[in-house]
Amino acid sequence: MATFRGVDYMHLDSLLSEQELLVRQTARRFVDEQIQPVIRDSFRDGKPPAGLARQMGELGFLGANLDGYGCAGMSSVEYGLVMLELERGDSGVRSFASVQGALVMYPIHAYGTEEQRQNWLPRLQSGEAVGCFGLTEPGFGSNPAGMTTTARRDGGHWVLNGEKTWITNGSVADVAVVWARTEQGIHGFLVERCTPGFSASELHGKLSMRASVTSSLAFSDCRIPSANQLPAAKGLKAALGCLTQARFGIGWGVIGAAMDCYESARQYTTIRKQFDDKPIAAHQLVQEKLAWMITEITKAQLLALHCGRLKDQGKLEPAHVSMLKRNNVAMALECARLSRDLLGANGIMDEYPMMRHMCNLETVKTYEGTDHIHALVIGEKVTGIAAYK
């Protein structure tokens, strides 16, 4: 398997520390050796690569930016670089790591009791256990405040009723972080696999994210012990706090998908000949597309890196992450489409990565805050007026 050389038009690597480069090297080698050789079949068969959770856990990719409990304690930039390389492999692989780290381990770390942390974090870090995050419902996507899943106190238990959908890792998860409405407002709970009244079913027929498991979760008088409540996970703000973490990873990750598309197209167009035995890269319209892509990738890299540095300084705001996620996903999607175009008919084949990335990125555009909602978050930031309320 060829080693990926990276896409660095403007010496941006010089902005990275020695440790950051080493972290990227590990993630890059993992993707080249473990993901690239299997991802085509994985996507085609609709099954995640086998043994992925353990492999990623061993290398420290799961909850990489958390401290303690076996986690690697990486900086935000290092975490971002891992997400970028994983998504260069496939958005589904990155989604697995995003959900596990940012949407399951992060809330247990930030909102859980010490006992919950001890119980779950080492197992989730190593990939021995898998987690999922249940916020979205069939009737409430962009407006989670309207959720209808309820949690009612009953002695030493909580009783959950309702349905969640579009849940990554749902039917393979050992634990679900579930958000439900209580008399005191929205709250986060841990629901373990095999709890009576809890079931998860895989969604079939996806034309996107085929290397990742997506499920629906159903709760029917599902009784969980009071100790499974995440004590500090109070209000929708706590749930959105997790999403800010995950969106940060997406903003980095999609650059990887864009790089894979761009680099595949760059190589293809310098070899493919048409008209007068010239490589098609010698034609102006082809060069314009390559120039657009490399320019947008470079801008996206700078945006991600700046957000990462701000995050490490504690200065990154959710509205900044909205710009990062929205801009970079749209950029990556356009790179996938342009690069597909440059490969002509070959571009539609799964021998090349762009069609797979393009399908995946349609999901990424929608999940974790749609493109529209992030536009409105940015709009609110600059006008003070919330257009989505």
């Binding site: 080693t3 020695e18 080493l22 090297q25």
Partner: protein
């Protein structure tokens, strides 16, 4: 058991190499560096020895300040500490001077085993390890494909030509030059990378080790192989032409 692994930082294998302005070396701008490939296998073999037999793995690297990235990577993979002989211009040393430099650093450590790659990917002399063993007064084995601890020392498998192997037993301390592919290279885990930050890298200088550069054959010109088409007319009668053609194909072009 103390194992020292001598490693070198070289340009990445898939680099786009360009000749620099002087025309005598490669342009380092934009060049990413990595551990010399056979050295990576030597390091892995050392780490596996430590896991099986206990002890310590010390990494030794002569090279510029920028070589710390390769040293840190070795520490991240599990080496315990490192010795860095800081020298910006390694090309000023011939294999003997370079081996003297490494030997001076190794003597102070008194290792049980010294491992290194069988050659470097950049210069490819394949001399340093062997000369180093001679300077240290250690027995050595080259092109090693397998190692095994025995009661008396170490048993190794050497790669000979044409699919033949040789098994040799050596007393310790010994020096081995390792062939690529001898084992499966591990990843640096993120936890390992974090831990490497606090591991010791001891800086040494050629002056303090009492070695002065020199001996290197002066390099006059570095250039990419020139591709060109050549035509030659073979004269004489058919028999003579055929005989000459066979000669050329056999000995010049080596096509038959």
């Amino acid at each position: 058991m103390k194992v020292i692994v001598a490693i070198k930082q070289v340009p990445s294998r898939d680099s786009r190499l360009r000749v620099d302005g002087s025309g005598r070396w490669i342009d380092p701008t934009d060049l990413t560096a990595e551990i010399n490939e056979p050295d990576a296998y030597a390091l892995e073999e050392a780490l596996q020895w430590k896991e099986k037999h206990g002890g310590e793995v010390v990494v030794l690297c002569a090279g510029p300040a920028g070589a710390t990235q390769t040293i840190r990577d070795a520490l991240a993979k599990g080496a315990d500490r490192a010795l860095h002989i800081e020298e910006e211009n390694l090309t000023a040393y011939d294999s003997l001077r370079l081996a003297e430099l490494l030997a001076a650093a190794i003597r102070a450590e008194q290792p049980d085993l010294v491992l290194t790659g069988l050659q470097s990917d950049d210069l490819g002399y394949g001399q340093t390890g062997v000369i180093l063993a001679e300077l240290l007064g250690m027995p050595h084995g080259t092109i090693i494909m397998q190692t095994e601890k025995t009661a008396a020392g170490i048993r190794v498998k050497r790669e000979l030509e044409d699919g033949w192997f040789q098994f040799v037993e050596l007393p310790l301390p010994a020096l081995l030059t390792i062939q690529s592919g001898i084992n499966k290279l591990r990843y640096s885990t993120l936890m390992g990378i974090k831990k490497a930050k606090s591991k010791e890298i001891k800086a040494l200088t050629p002056a303090a080790l009492g070695v002065t550069p020199g001996g290197a054959a002066p390099l006059e010109k570095l250039y990419a192989p020139q591709r060109g088409k050549q035509s030659r007319l073979i004269e004489g009668d058919a028999r003579k032409q055929a005989a000459e053609l066979v000669e050329i194909l056999k000995h010049e072009v080596r096509a038959i």
